[in-house]
Each structure stands twice: as C-alpha cells, then as structure tokens.
Symmetry: C2
Subunit: 350 residues, 2 copies
C-alpha cells in the first residue's frame, strides 16, 4: 500500500455558481455598478471560495511558523539567530505586531516552532513541532533533507486541518525566522531564474557589507543547487523549515477550501512553491500587500497577484495580512448588509 | 464691530514635540526600524495632531453632507436628482455603504441636508440645514450667491464644532449629491487651470453621450466663470452646497485640531478649496484612497497627497474613508500596544 502525502492530494476549485450569484446580488445594491471597485470582486471571489452567496471574514485563523536558518553563518542578518526564539516568546506574550493585530481582529493566533536554534520551553500559545534545530547553511549544502522537508510540510498541513476544524473563514500564514529573506531570495532565484541582485534586499535592515554577503550567499546557494526547478526539490535545497510549513499550509488550506491571505515576501515564496507544485492552489489565495522587500515585486508578478495594500511594510509575522483583513471584512459586510434599490426605494437610474 | 467668519480664523499647527516623541517610541518597538512603513508615519502624524504620544482613532465622526445640483439640467448624470433625497433616507435607515461601514466602526454617523430638490420630512439621523433647494445651473449662472455659500460653510463649521465637542479623534466628511462630480470637475478646472478632459469622468457611470454633455457643461461653466481663482469665489460660482459645507468642515476641523480623513474626488475638491484658502489646513488632512474618478489624480497631485488605498472605488458618501479607518486604527494600536525591545527581552541588533 502506498501512502499519498497530503500535499499530493487534489485541490478543489471554488464554487462558480456562488460567485455568480454574489455578482448578481452586488448589481442590486444601492450604489452605482462597480463603484466599490476591488471590494466587489473580493466579495464574489470569497463567495465562491466559501461556497455561499454571502461570505464572511469574521473567524480568522493566524498561524505564525518560526524556524532558524543555517545561512546566518554567512553573516546575512542584522539580528542574531537567538532573536527568532525571543520573538516567538514575544508573539505568544502579546507584544509583537501580529499579536496586537490578532487581538483587535479577535482572531485565533497560533505560533508553531518548526525549529529554532535556541530551545524553547513549553509556552502557552506556542506549539512545538521541531523538525530540526534550524536548517543547514544553504550556501554550502542542502538546507533540509527530503524527510525534514516532508515533516515540515506536514506541520503546515496539520495547521490547515485545525483551521478547517475550527471553521476558519480565512487562514493567514505568518513567519518568524532570522535569515529567512536570504532563503526566500534563493528559492525565488531557483524558481524564477532571476539573479540575486533582483531578489536580495535588506531584510530586517542590513548594511551594505552584509547586503553584499547576502547576495554572495544566495549566488553560492544557487550555483550549488544547479538548474533543477522541481518546486519541492528547490524547497528542500534552499528553503527553510517555516517556509516548508507555510507551503504545506497553503496547499492544505486550498485542499480544505479555506481561503488563504498571503502576507509579504516570505509567505509569497511559499505560495509560489505551492502554486508551481499544484497550480489549482492559486484559486484559494488572496494577496495582502506589496512589501518593500526587494524581491517581492518579481514574486508577485510570477503569481499574477495584485495585492490589496502598498504601505511600504516589510515586517513579516503575517502583519501585512493582519492589516489587510478589515478590507476583506468591509467587502463582505457591504455585500451582505447594504440595501438593494428595491428594498430602499431608490431609483436605480435604468 | 466686524464679525470674523469662522473660516477666516487662524489654523493651529500640530504639536511637533508629540510627533517627535512618538517617533522615538516607534524606534524602541520590537520590529526592524521602519518596517511598518507608512503606518509609522501615520502614528507619529496623528500624535502631533492629537497632541499626545499615543494617538487613537476609536472615536470617529462621519458626517455626510447632501445637496442637489442645478447643473443636472444639462443631462450630466445617470440618476435623477430625486435620488439625492432617496439616498439620504437610505443612509439614515442604515442601508447605504457608509451606513454599513459606520456601524462596524462604531462611528457616529450624521447626515446633513444642505439642500435637496425633493423636500425631506424630519428624519431620525438627518439634520435639516437647507440653504437652498439645490444650486443653480453652474453652466449658465453662479451656482450659489455669496450668502448661500457662507451659510453652507457655516453648516460645515458647526459640524466640526459638534465633532470637537464629542471629542472625535477623526472627522470623516462624506457627500451625496447627484451631479456633484460635474461641479467638482468645474471647481478643479478653475483652481488648477486644467481643461474639462482632464477632470470630467463618468461619475456614477454615465454613457458616452452624457459624458460629452458633462464636459460641455464644465467647459461652459469655466468660460462663464472666467479666470478668477479666489478659492471661495470659485466655490460660489461652480461648487455645490454640500461641497461648501465640506469646505467649512475641513477648515473647522483644522481650526479645532481634529484630524480630517479625506474621502474621494468630491471631498478632495473641498480639501483643495480649503488648502488654497488657508494653507495651514493641510496639516490636518489624511487621504483615504485614490478614486477611479478621472479628475482625482490631478487634485491629489495638487494637494501633494499620497492616499492610503487604491482599490478602484468611486462611490462617495465617505465610503473610501470608512474603508481606510482600520489602517489608521492599526497604526495607532501597533504604536500603543507593541512591546519594546527592552520590555520583551528581545535583542535589538545593535
């Protein structure tokens, strides 16, 4: 008997009839046709994804995946790897950006440790799912073994299962991992065939010297990796544990018909891996924002994505997605609660 | 004794010390410096406006000004003038876009009738402040007398006073007026010296024939008006009652240190009149979104404004501002509630 991995299972398509009925409803609301702009398309897209004419984004599930990166040995970050674990504590304690946003959204916030270099004790709000104590240095050797990658993918899939069990109407994947913009740039380079200059940015804010080291590390990793473009192969070779878990979460959410709101550069890389691996997963994605991180534009273009926001953010954690949720809520609430021309006794101009 | 009109009184400047202290606080929060992008500037700007290091946008006052436009005689709108009064009822009854948004923001929503063609009875949530039964046809004669304009300006000033009395942390001006994109385009043409083609759009969605009539009406109005650019003179000649009231509200809010969130094309025109009349009022403005209406880009450029959102909206009522409020709330909540590096025990990378 062969077991099929969860991330190899088929992905459904959204319910087109619900989308069409939602569009027809929009046309009856007391406003000039099309005047809510992208909010109208957002509502009808969510209608298809949620399988209802009146979608809602009230039950939001935010899962932050944390993991460390061996490539930090190359001197690519302004912060030490210890900060990943420190920030896991901060997120769980309510002090990080995503904690503040989740609280005000009344969202469920789960932090999953896929592998910090600094061990963490059992902490409320943190799920231990340690695959390894960080990845290996991608500039010198494959970041993960296939088995480690699969274990991390399964961590993400399980998170999507819990979200579906909780009847989440939207899944937000966030990440915390010092060094992960280096790993993400390397994955993008391999998948898109672009040079490090187009993809490597300052991440958390490195200086020019560290930026040069970062580009060199990505170039070295890409040279070592070679031309292979199989998405899950690239993921193991150049990715991170939290990026693998995010990829599993994107695929797992799509498989379970849970819309996924993509945050910034790192999560977009996971989305790119997922979409290259299983193109149908694209139907379940929304894009929150255009990050200021250098490589994000190229990745968004490859995904044909038009993010909702462009605020110059580059924080990660899922924070851009947290900021964008109220736009999706507004789209759904307007769609659901506005009067129709008929019910309000307003002449519709026809 | 000479009475000074409220809109002639001096406008204060925001508290620079509070802005600077807010910026210093931002630098201590557990995130890479600058990584919240525009949200950081938003928080420190609001700090200066509200005169506190920790601003908030929890008490929001939304005032929708309604008025009719004589220029509808030129066949410039897809809707009849009766719709203005019908929509006033719809807004007050909770069925309009701005009603839905206000409800979910827990904002105070006030509708002020500055002059609908169709008389309205006393309605809960609607304040009667009828200056005239709509304006005159700006293509043929001045839209308002100076006395009518002043009365409408005073209506807006009084609304700002009520907002200040209620300790509103943000004022949103909205509008409802069939024909008002024509009036707004004419005002923009006179103030910016641009031709109708650059400023006249489809408004609520007119066809090509009506669009041509709309351009012709604006061209005729601009020819009649001549070269005079005194802002309040342009307002009386080419504006609308609700646009005048909005101008009074912008100036009145600035005078009382209440930040004002500008919605789309129409409200931006009121902001432009206000800023040309009293440049210091610009310090109190935020811009919610870039509307799809043709002339908005030129007006935003003249105001040196970078709106928060670009969602292709063009509904009016204050709806774009309503959608943008959660971004301002997120900025303030993150600023106020995030942990500092010190309090969270996170290494700051220095």
């Amino acid at each position: 008997m062969t077991m099929t991995h969860p991330w190899e299972q088929p992905i459904p398509t959204p319910n087109a009839a619900c989308s069409q009925r939602a569009e027809a409803h929009q046309a009856r609301l007391t406003k000039p046709p099309g005047s809510l702009g992208r909010l109208e398309h957002l509502a009808s897209t969510l209608a298809g994804q949620q399988g209802t004419v009146f979608p809602a984004v009230e039950r939001v599930r935010i899962v932050v995946f944390a993991g460390d990166h061996g490539v930090c040995d190359e001197g690519v970050s302004a912060f030490t790897q210890a900060v990943t674990a420190q920030m896991v504590r901060n997120i769980a304690a309510g002090g990080a950006a995503i904690s503040v946003l989740a609280r005000h959204l009344h969202a469920t916030l789960e932090v999953i440790n896929t592998g910090t270099v600094t061990p963490l004790p059992q902490l409320p709000g943190v799920r231990a799912a340690t695959v390894a104590r960080g990845t290996r240095n991608l500039a010198r050797q494959p970041a993960m073994t296939a088995a480690e990658r699969d274990e991390a993918l399964a961590v993400g899939d399980a998170a999507a299962q819990r979200a579906a069990d909780a009847q989440a109407q939207l899944f937000i994947g966030g990440e915390m991992g010092i060094g992960n913009t280096t790993s993400a740039a390397a994955v993008a380079g391999a998948l898109l065939g672009l040079p490090p200059e187009a993809l490597v940015g300052r991440g958390t804010g490195v200086d020019d010297t560290a930026l040069a080291r970062k580009r060199a590390a990505v170039a070295r990793g890409l040279a070592r990796h070679g031309d292979a473009r199989a998405p899950l192969g690239v993921l193991a070779s150049l990715g991170g544990l939290e990026i693998a878990a995010l990829t599993g979460a994107v695929l797992g959410a799509a498989r379970r018909r849970v819309p996924f709101l993509v945050d910034g550069f790192i999560v977009s890389i996971a989305a790119l891996i997922a979409v290259r691996h299983a193109p149908a997963s694209a139907h379940w994605l929304h894009f929150a924002h255009r990050s200021r991180e250098t490589g994000h534009g190229a990745v968004l273009e490859a995904l044909n994505a038009q993010p909702l926001l462009n605020l110059g953010m580059r924080l990660g954690e899922g924070s851009g997605a947290g900021v964008a949720v109220p736009l999706m809520q507004a789209a759904c609430r307007l769609h659901r609660e506005m009067a129709t021309f008929e019910s309000a006794g307003v002449s519709d101009g026809s």
